[in-house]
């Protein structure tokens, strides 16, 4: 049981780190668009657009 005396403070530190990560994520806009990235995964990019010529108009 003595290990708890170490583990509990450790968990506090861990929570602190996670909280910092969450705050950073919120600040850097990770939560701004919760819909688009989900869709963009499904779209296949197996045919990358040719970047050497302008598309016809």
């Amino acid at each position: 049981m003595d290990i708890l005396i170490l583990l509990i403070p450790l968990s506090l530190v861990l929570v602190g780190v996670i909280a910092w990560v969450m705050l950073w994520a919120a600040k850097s806009g990770q939560f701004d668009d919760l819909e688009g990235p989900g869709h963009s995964v499904i779209m296949d990019d197996d045919k990358p657009p040719k970047s050497d010529d302008t598309p016809r108009s």
């Binding site: 049981m1 708890l4 005396i5 509990i8 403070p9 968990s11 506090l12 929570v15 996670i18 909280a19 969450m22 705050l23 919120a26 600040k27 939560f31 701004d32 668009d33 919760l34 819909e35 688009g36 869709h39 963009s40 499904i42 779209m43 296949d44 990019d45 197996d46 045919k47 657009p49 040719k50 970047s51 050497d52 010529d53 302008t54 598309p55 016809r56 108009s57």
Partner: protein, 865 residues
């Protein structure tokens, strides 16, 4: 072509391969896709589809889940995009990163599904010189970085319009920064509360279950929980304490008071027992309760924002910058912020641009879409002297506009003001709910004290958490939210349908209305002459003779001339409407600028006009004038329509003849016609159980004709405003609830006399219309849709109130008897207020039930935004 079967089940769309509209007969714009020939409806669609397929992004067609807007040919004129390359214009929205690296924010229009985002991202990213592009699906904003030495911004905008979308730069600082900050703060509070809750629960669970825990470990866990709970209470729950304090200062018992009391009591008690070393701790309950409440509020905030979006979209319509012509009629242009415009300035509005202010057209002919303001989906033709409204979108060709009203004086601003007023004015049922909520909180505090005392006597160890449970589980929020949430959503939806609510009680009364009284002129009819029928003779088509007549009357301001020039015949050629809707700009231009021009025009006042088109002389006017040498075809199989000129006021049509040198070639019937959708709209209203009445100051013949045509049984002709008012009063004495629809200014006294009044806002000043509701467009179908929506709103408000009351009646006794732990209470309360808001949000997706059978003039254009 990349083909990924099974990943996304793209629905198949019939009609035009690109936009899905029906392909008109006889058009042939084929496109090759995956080895098959597909048909598109117009050149615009063909070009866009070709561009998409050629650039290797044909997968768009297999992935999309919604149809795009029809590309308008007017967009070809976006060629003036080059202006956006000038450094002085870029100043306001472009960030210069390095010497040649630029970044700009763009608003994308016409985005309808995720495939659109994908298409745009890949298309823009494929341009040489574009460094990165990110598109936000939720906000439809794009962020583009490019190398200015290799590509210009205008080329990027052009590339977007090539695939059928519209991109325009905007100043990101000015838009919804506030909301973004609020949302960010809410997410942070939520994250802290969530983490705190999870970890505190980790410490709490062993203390509940473990049997062999030493006191030191128990104490350590308590202290750890305390440390974790401090930020949750101090940071995450802060808004509740602030709200409660504000309420108390105003001597008001609001929703936050019981919450703050509950959280505060539990926390202080826990801290006390941690410090003193005996008693229970409630850290787990406190953190979980805060987390659940915040989750509820967060969802509610997003929902509310969606509900209020209609008003905000209106405000956002006004662009940031505009092109001023300081020395008009000289053509030198300068870009100025809209804020620096003054009344009397001349501005140039290019196609695709939004008008920044109200004004008068001084040069140019164009089609302007007022859809965002009026719900009317077809563009309106505007030429010199026409009034244009800020916020409407120029679609066809450049217009020079003299600014007449700016900022707070514009029609758009007054619409927004009226909406605000309507939403802040609470109807009776709302006021009742508010007062009830305040009483409710007071009563709740009394009950809590009583129950607390009782439990203290029975079992002191349970007293505290029961008190906390009662404080938390009761939900005055649901009671207070029930009405405003539904009303805000409904007024927003109504505005998008084209009916502006200006008074708080209007919705409620409209839902209860039993009788609908119409004025005739300007309400059910257009209030001006229009071509009702065209009878071409001698094998010519209606379009052909209409074009001839329009050319002859091109220069005249006579009402008959205007009618011949502007209106297509209604009713007789339904396919004409379909096409009008499919290619708005092209057909409108065809109508406004006659195909042929007439020369040697000679006007004979009171009789008609004579002119030469393509070397042939035509006469248009009364039959005797037009064809003096021809024997009038009295007996051509009933073809001869009437006895020459008659006044339209007496209910009959007035006939105009068109003849060339030798023979009569067409008849035009002119009349003040009922609006195209009047019959269908009235049928729908009758279907909803409303009794319809027609009151008019016009002569009996005209009123009778209109009433019969539209199927109204109760009609009264020759009515003065007093008579109309008396009629409305007599209906009211029979216990009927009367809704009056009139033109707002002439009918003001009658409108004021009815329980709820609806004014036709077309042309009239919205702010001055003395009515509870204003129709922003001229679609009469809006009325029946609105009645349906009002009734549904009423139903939803009742459901909400019923739920809120029922929930509390069950929850309070349960908590008082000790059956509810604080964390269950937290879930219960959050769920009940969330349920109320979500229920109200159903109104924003309200789809008017279409009455089948009767065709209306509705546009099949997909509405975006």
């Amino acid at each position: 072509m990349s083909n990924s079967p099974g990943l996304v089940d793209a629905p198949s769309f019939s009609g035009c391969f690109h936009c899905g509209l029906p392909v008109p007969d006889g058009t042939h714009y084929p496109i090759q896709f995956e080895g098959q020939t597909r048909q598109t409806c117009c050149r615009g669609c063909q070009a866009v589809a070709q561009t998409i397929i050629d650039s290797g992004q044909g997968a768009y067609y297999t992935h999309r889940t919604a149809l795009p807007a029809t590309p308008r040919e007017a967009e070809a004129e976006l060629a003036q995009l080059g202006l956006y390359d000038l450094p002085e214009i870029q100043e306001s929205f472009v960030r210069v990163e390095a010497e040649n690296i630029r970044e700009a924010a763009l608003i994308l229009e016409n985005i309808v599904c995720a495939a659109c985002i994908w298409l745009n991202e890949r298309h823009i990213a494929g341009l040489p010189g574009v460094l990165s592009v990110e598109i936000n699906y939720a906000t439809r904003r794009a962020r583009v970085r490019w190398d200015n030495s290799r590509i210009q911004l205008s080329a990027i905008l052009k590339a977007v319009s090539d695939i059928g979308y519209i991109a325009h730069p905007f100043d990101p600082g000015r838009s919804d920064d506030v909301f973004k900050r609020e949302r960010n703060t809410a997410i942070k509070r939520l994250a802290i509360a969530g983490l705190g809750m999870m970890q505190v629960m980790m410490y709490a669970l062993p203390t509940y279950t473990a049997t062999d825990m030493t006191d030191e470990i128990r104490l350590l866990m308590r202290w750890a929980s305390l440390i974790l709970t401090i930020p949750v209470v101090g940071y995450s729950a802060w808004p509740f304490f602030i709200g409660a304090w504000r309420d108390l200062k105003r001597r008001n018992l609001g929703m936050d008071v019981p919450v703050a009391l509950g959280v505060g009591t539990a926390f202080v008690a826990s801290v006390y027992s941690t410090l003193s070393g005996h008693g229970e701790v409630y850290y787990d309950s406190v953190t979980m309760f805060i987390f659940l409440l915040l989750t509820g509020r967060f969802l509610e905030m997003n929902a509310r924002r969606r509900a209020g979006a209609a008003v905000e979209e209106l405000v956002k319509l006004i662009p940031a910058a505009t092109t001023r012509l300081p020395n008009w009629p000289a053509r030198d242009e300068e870009q100025v912020p809209v804020a620096r415009l003054a009344v009397g300035d001349h501005i140039l509005v290019r196609p695709g641009e939004t008008l920044p202010a109200d004004g008068v057209v001084v040069e140019g002919d164009s089609a302007v879409s007022e859809a965002m303001l009026t719900g009317e989906s077809l563009p309106v033709t505007k030429s010199v002297h026409a009034k244009v409204v800020g916020g409407s979108l120029n679609q066809a060709s450049p217009l020079v506009v003299r600014v007449e009203k700016l900022g707070a004086e514009t029609r758009l601003a007054s619409i927004v003001r009226l909406l605000d007023r309507a939403q802040s004015e609470k109807p009776r049922i709302g006021q009742l709910a508010d007062r009830a909520a305040a009483w409710f909180v007071g009563l709740l505090l009394l009950i809590t004290v009583a129950v607390g005392l009782a439990w203290y006597l029975i079992d002191p160890s349970k007293a505290l958490w029961i008190v906390v449970s009662i404080l938390v589980v009761t939900c005055p929020c649901a009671l207070g939210l029930a009405t405003p949430a539904a009303l805000t959503t409904a007024t927003g939806r109504l505005t998008r349908l084209g009916l502006l609510t200006t008074r708080g009680h209007a919705l409620e009364t409209l839902a209860r209305a039993t009788d609908l009284v119409f004025d005739k002129t300007g309400t059910l009819t257009h209030g001006r002459l229009s071509v009702r029928r065209v009878i071409p003779l001698g094998g010519r088509s209606a379009e052909e003779v209409s074009a001839l007549a329009a050319a002859l009357e091109a220069g005249s301001e006579h009402p008959i001339a205007k009618a011949l020039r502007q209106d297509r015949p209604e009713g007789e050629h339904p396919e004409g409407h379909k096409r009008l809707a499919a290619y708005p700009s092209r057909v409108l231009r065809e109508v406004t600028t006659p195909a042929n021009t007439a020369s040697h025009i000679r006007n004979t006042p009171g009789r008609g006009v004579e002119g030469t088109i393509d070397g042939r002389t035509y006469r248009l006017g009364s039959p005797r004038f037009a064809a003096p040498h021809t024997a009038l075809p009295q007996s051509t199989g009933g073809e001869y329509p009437g006895n020459g000129h008659e006044h339209p006021e007496n209910g009959h049509e007035s006939w105009v003849a068109l003849a060339d040198e030798t023979e009569l070639i067409a008849w035009f019937a002119l009349a003040d016609t009922p609006r195209a959708d009047a019959a269908a709209a009235l049928a729908a209203l009758r279907h909803q159980g409303l009794r319809l009445h027609l009151l008019s100051g016009d002569a009996e013949g005209a009123v009778k004709a209109t009433a019969q045509q539209l199927g109204i049984d109760d009609w009264h002709a020759g009515a003065l405003p007093e008579d109309k008012l008396a009629y409305v009063k007599s209906l009211q004495q029979q216990g009927r609830i009367v809704a009056m629809v009139g033109d707002g200014i002439n009918d003001a006294p009658v409108l004021a006399g009815a329980q709820v009044s609806i004014a036709m806002g077309e042309g009239a000043d919205v702010a001055q219309a003395a009515a509870d509701m204003v129709m922003l467009g001229s679609r009469l179908a809006t009325l029946s849709e609105s009645v349906a929506l009002a009734r549904k709103t009423q139903r939803i408000i009742r459901q909400n109130l019923g739920w809120a009351l029922g929930y509390n009646l069950i929850a309070i006794p349960a908590a008082a008897l000790g059956h509810v732990t604080p964390w269950i209470a937290g879930i219960g309360m959050s769920a009940s207020s969330l349920l109320v808001v979500l229920n109200a949000l159903r109104l924003s997706d309200f789809k008017p039930a279409r009455t089948p059978a009767v065709p209306t003039l509705d546009s099949p254009l997909p509405t975006h935004r």
